[in-house]
């Protein structure tokens, strides 16, 4: 469904600060995949997401959505196929607008016309959907989003993304800015939505045990390359120790990134 062919991204090409963030990435995302991505800082995880979503164009290589080459397509057009959730809960919602307005904006993708779609029927539908979050938001639909906590806003962003039913959801450490309780809650919700609604998703995480627990496929990135791609039965039986060992077998380097090792429970 989504295909990346030989993607390379070089920042500041031709200067002393030249930095190759992605080196020849080839990836095929099948419909219904829930892929988790781990890797140390600077491995190129977020760069990969930015390239897929079109925040910037790759230096070489092509991107295909449903066999259509979208490499040169501007970000806003590509966004019709994608849903993206950022680490910062503030990026997903407009804080000075009410909850129902936010949901209305995200309900349908693409050009917005002069129709007044937010009517009582729509409100009722939103209310039903908000009940799925179990946060009591359904009774606060006229409140400005800035009054809600980071966890509530991120849950809302997740719900709104899911409702627009994109072909691919990109989750960029979307629980990293939340407290552990809320992070666990959002992660459970994410898993539930993706499985229930049969969505396709890619999730970056710094937490190895999360990466192993969720999803049906795991990618490990290192210095701009995908060095491990594990799915199916092998993924199900994976442990953190097993993952570290595999990394060693591939790279013959110690996995020394403390953050990566420390962050499993």
């Amino acid at each position: 469904m989504i295909r990346l062919e030989n993607i390379t991204k070089v920042f500041n090409q031709g200067t002393v600060n030249e930095n190759t963030a992605l080196r020849g990435i080839n990836l095929r995302v099948k419909e219904g995949d829930f892929i988790t991505i781990v890797g140390s800082n600077g491995a190129g995880k977020t760069t990969l997401f930015n390239t897929i979503s079109g925040s910037f164009q790759p230096t070489t290589g092509d991107i295909f959505f449903n066999d259509k080459n979208v490499t040169r397509m501007p970000e806003y057009k590509r966004a019709q196929y994608l849903g993206r959730i950022f680490q910062d809960p503030l990026l997903g919602t407009a804080s000075n607008m009410s909850l129902e307005d936010n949901m209305m904006i995200c309900y349908r993708k693409g050009f917005k016309g002069l129709k007044i779609s937010l009517n009582n029927k729509m409100r009722e539908r939103f209310r039903e959907e908000l009940k799925a979050l179990d946060m009591g938001l359904e009774s606060r639909m006229e409140y400005n989003v800035q009054l809600f906590s980071g966890g509530q806003r991120q849950a809302l962003t997740l719900l709104m993304t899911v409702l627009s039913h994109p072909d691919l959801i990109l989750l960029d450490e979307h629980t990293a800015a939340l407290d552990p309780k809320n992070a666990a809650l959002i992660l459970e919700l994410t898993d539930k939505f993706i499985i229930d609604k049969k969505l396709t998703a890619m999730m970056i995480t710094h937490n190895m045990s999360h990466a192993i627990k969720y999803g049906n496929r795991i990618l490990m990135m290192h210095k701009g390359e995908i060095i491990l791609d594990i799915s199916g039965e092998e993924k199900k039986n994976l442990t953190v120790e097993g993952l570290v060992k595999k990394f060693y077998n591939v790279k013959h380097e110690e996995l020394t990134n403390d953050e990566l090792l420390m962050s499993h429970e």
Partner: protein, 357 residues
């Protein structure tokens, strides 16, 4: 006592009523009216005259507040909804006045002229948005560029003149006054007319900002990334928003030209400041997240601003203020508003901290 008409006409009128002229201030109210303050006031009728004078002042405040309120609605769209500080306004206000005046003088239908003024404003706004989007220029600079270019464009539109009088021509206002002649006094007709116009624009704006496109514009000023993620072309949205804003400003300029009887290339100087001050004053009245309330607040703010300016003019004499000081007064008003707003925030924060402790 307020009289209208051109200067010599006024002198004749005053003379025929046996008023000896004591002071004539041509600069009053952006040269809208000529106020004649007379010295030979019969003792018994002075109280009565004062009432007449005050009611003219109040009427002037409301009419001007409503005319400029249309402009403030435009400034509100860019500054508050889109978060796009747009200085094109200083040029699109006289642009509206110039298009209106020159089309009326060329004999076009007044409503056609008004529509043309609106479209001219929209075009000016779109130019600013395109400069900003295409050349990646900061929005302030894009606005200044358009505003500067509009100075020349406006003079061209007025036929290479800096000022175009409308006193002998039929305008929307003279039409309206002639329709209601004998039923309602002309001052009240104008007041009611502008009230209806301002309300009609306010309500259509409310309606617009409840459509899908309007909601998206609202989100754009707050969170561009979110709007991009919804598959919306933000460059197009900015062009629509800034264009609409300048269209309203031009309409306001067109009405101002008709109300004061001339279009002038210098009409726009300081319009952004006027608009911003009015928006800020409105924000002190009440807070809400409902667009109906927000636009209402903007119009009230504009009327209050005009009232403050009138008072500055009226009572400023006693402390030596001249009409030339009004721009300074406007700037100080904004600074005062900002200081009060900041003080409020700080108090709020302190209270919050106390609650935490």
């Amino acid at each position: 006592m307020k009289l209208s008409g051109n200067f010599f006409h006024l002198l004749r009128q005053a003379a025929s009523r046996n008023y000896s002229l004591f002071f004539i201030d041509m600069f009053l109210s952006e040269r809208t009216h000529v106020y004649i303050i007379y010295s030979k006031i019969p003792a018994d009728s002075s109280a009565c005259d004062k009432i007449i004078k005050d009611s003219a002042m109040i009427e002037g405040i409301f009419v001007e507040g409503l005319i400029y309120g249309i402009m403030v609605l435009g400034v509100f769209i860019t500054f508050r909804i889109l978060d796009f500080p747009d200085l094109t306004v200083d040029g699109s206000f006289p642009l509206g006045a110039a298009i209106m005046a020159s089309l009326i003088i060329s004999g076009y239908n007044v409503f056609f002229a008004l529509a043309a003024a609106f479209m001219g404003g929209v075009a000016a706004g779109v130019v600013t948005a395109v400069i900003h989007n295409r050349l990646k220029v900061p929005n302030l600079l894009a606005g200044i560029l358009t505003m500067t270019m509009l100075w020349s464009v406006n003079i061209r539109i007025m036929g290479n003149r800096a000022n175009l009088p409308l006193l002998k021509n039929e305008t929307i206002l003279t039409d309206i006054v002639s329709w209601t002649e004998g039923i309602i006094p002309s001052d009240y007709t104008i007041l009611v007319f502008f009230f209806l116009v301002a309300m009609a624009i306010k309500f259509s704006m409310d309606l617009f900002f409840r459509t899908d496109m309007g909601l998206t514009l609202g989100a754009l000023g707050n969170n561009e990334q979110m709007v991009i993620s919804q598959g919306v072309n933000i460059n197009l949205m900015k062009a629509i928003g800034v264009g609409l804003s300048n269209g309203l400003v031009a309409v306001s300029g067109a009405f101002a030209a008709q109300y004061q009887g001339f279009a002038d290339v210098g009409l726009g100087t300081g319009i952004v400041v006027t608009g911003l001050a009015s928006v800020m004053i409105g924000e002190f009245i009440f807070t809400s997240n409902k667009i109906v309330v927000l636009t209402f607040r903007v119009i009230i703010g504009s009327i209050i601003y005009k009232a403050i300016m009138y008072l500055g003019r009226y009572y400023g004499y006693h402390i030596g203020l001249t009409p030339n000081d009004l721009k300074l007064l406007a700037g100080l008003l904004i600074i005062a508003c900002l200081m009060i707003a900041q003080g409020k925030k700080r108090n709020y924060f302190r209270r919050w901290k106390n609650d935490q402790a």
